[in-house]
Amino acid sequence: MKILATLQNNDIAPRFDLATEILIASIVRGKISGEPRTVLLPGPGSDALCSLIIKEEVSLVICGGIEESHFQYLVWKKIEVIDRVIGPAPRAIELAIAKQLRPGGIVRTESTRSARL
């Protein structure tokens, strides 16, 4: 299976429709197989991103905010979507594999914890 996360720097992009970068990880027997692939998109856009998700045969999408119409479209295409996620994308993918990531989840690393005021 494949997991796709929208990227902004190393974090999950806050908006699905504005993401210009994605991270695709292939999962084999519950583990990330190989190096996750970063893809630079030609530009932001929900429709193009949905097409890419279908084309890449992604099973799980991790993203920030996503509009209801695109969320429903992906669900209809039998793609699981975990949205409103905040935090570093690689860690979010790890948590998703471990079935510990929920919609609205805030993924914290040691560095983000120390950044708290």
Partner: protein
């Protein structure tokens, strides 16, 4: 005055106060990370303020701005509040149009800087955008061709930040137009400050406009913000700009060019983001020629120029204004005055109105006050109007001229069953539309109006 000294020490938590505000509010640090947010914003985003503390605000708010919200950073750097429109993706995956207002704040102890972000849902405003625009011309009445030109210019004036110079005789409505421009502009949420440059001596005017610091002059016991600072983000309207003393003209020119100035006695520059509208009944060009007005300032102010016509040049508007003021004052004074007699109408139709709309308003106010019955006759009008009656009627301002599409015959009074001019006008529009089978072009032609006028009036009366 009865004082309640028990309230002096009442000091609730800041967050409790913010929770009472029906807008999303977040306090963010210099890096734009969340420090706190109110309950409204928690509901909007689906996160609690505590759990997102220290996280970049764009991740939490899911704005369309990205991490480097330049405008917010500029606001932090300059210390000047700003406002920007955008959208967020709410908890329900719905895109919500928002107006973001960022106000920099500095911690009293420690001097740390932060930004208060206020998120205001403008979805309703956008839906009713057209209606809002119609409402902004409230107070400006008229369907004479010259006023139609002004109404058509209004959105153009509102959608720019350039300086506007409004000229026109006294009482033509320069203040109302300035406010209408402000209300139709993106600055409408911010203050509209009006300063009469002819009303104060030079020394006081400088302090009034630009503020002063404590000790700047005898009697300056405390720091005082000037009108430019009070109008921050909004519009300042300098009326009677032709009376502005020459030394202040230089300072005003500097403010217009640099957007910053020194308050009286201060060594610290103040930066402002204010739109300037000026008004005058004087001929500024002539003042420039005689050396009483700086030419460079004149060119700076004269970017967008609007001339409000005197009432005597506004064909057909007198009758409309008479009806409007009659309704207004009768309701305000709880009087049963319903109309003006044909003699009074004829008299007012022939009057010259040197004081323009303001004078007409005063005449009707006088009449409504004096009249004890239902009809205002000539004996209820101010004596000076009667004294002027011997003067031949003006030509251009034959406001109740026979044959005019918006007036009745010379002896015609307002019909008894007329609720208001607007209801008559509404009926006329409906009739014209029915006669032309719903064709707006045909109806506009039948009414003697342009298509734009018909469209504007249909919007005004909700006939769209």
């Amino acid at each position: 005055m009865v004082e309640n000294r028990g309230n002096e020490n009442f000091c609730p938590d800041l967050i409790e106060i913010l929770n009472g505000v029906p807008h999303g509010i977040a306090l963010v640090d210099q890096d734009l990370r969340i420090i706190m947010m109110n309950r409204f914003l928690e509901a909007l985003t689906g996160y609690s303020g505590e759990e997102v503390r220290g996280i970049y605000c764009d991740h939490v708010l899911r704005t369309g701005f990205g991490r480097n919200v330049q405008v917010f950073r500029q606001s932090l750097d300059s210390g000047v509040a700003c406002s920007i429109e955008g959208d967020i993706l709410g908890l329900n995956r719905e895109k919500i149009p928002m107006r973001f207002t960022a106000t920099p704040v500095v911690e009293r102890t420690g001097g740390r800087q932060a930004l208060v972000l206020v998120l205001e849902d403008i979805a309703d405003c956008q839906k009713t955008g057209g209606k809002k625009e119609a409402g902004t011309a409230k107070g400006l009445l008229g369907h004479s061709p010259k006023m139609q030109e002004i109404f058509e210019l209004l959105p153009v004036l509102a959608h720019t930040d350039s300086s506007v110079l409004i000229t026109g005789e006294t009482g033509t409505g320069k203040d109302i137009l300035a406010e209408a421009v402000h209300l139709a502009s993106r600055r409408s949420k911010y203050p509209f400050i009006k300063v009469n440059c002819g009303a104060l001596p030079e020394s006081l005017l400088e302090s009034e406009l630009f503020g002063h610091v404590r000790g700047a002059f005898t009697g300056a016991h405390a720091d005082k913000h000037g009108m430019f600072q009070l109008a921050q983000g909004g519009t300042i309207f300098l009326t009677e700009i032709g009376d502005l003393p020459l030394p202040l003209q230089v300072k005003l020119l500097t403010v217009l060019d640099d957007r910053e100035f020194f308050p009286l006695g201060s060594q610290k520059k103040v930066r402002v983001d204010v739109r300037l509208i000026t008004g005058t009944h004087r001929d500024l060009k002539q003042l420039v020629e005689v050396g009483r007005f700086r030419e460079d300032l004149f060119f700076r102010l004269n970017v967008l120029r609007v001339h409000l016509p005197p009432l005597r040049e506004r064909d057909g508007d007198v009758r409309l204004l008479i009806d409007y003021f009659l309704q207004m004052f009768a309701a305000s004074f709880k009087k049963n005055v319903k109309k003006l007699s044909s003699r009074a109408l004829r008299l007012l139709g022939g009057y010259r109105y040197p004081g323009n709309v303001r004078e007409l308003r005063n005449i009707i106010e006088y009449g409504v006050n004096i009249c004890r019955g239902e009809v205002i006759d000539i004996e209820h009008l101010p004596p000076y109007v009667l004294a002027d009656a011997g003067t031949p009627p003006r030509t251009a301002a034959e406001a109740v001229a026979p044959g005019s599409p918006l007036s009745g015959g010379p002896d015609e009074e307002l019909p008894d069953n007329a609720v208001s001019w607007s209801s008559i006008e509404k009926r006329k529009i409906l009739t014209a539309l029915m006669q032309t089978g719903g064709s707006r072009t045909g109806a506009a032609k039948a009414l003697g109006w342009g298509r734009t006028t018909l469209w504007r009036k249909m919007r005004e009366y909700d006939l769209g």
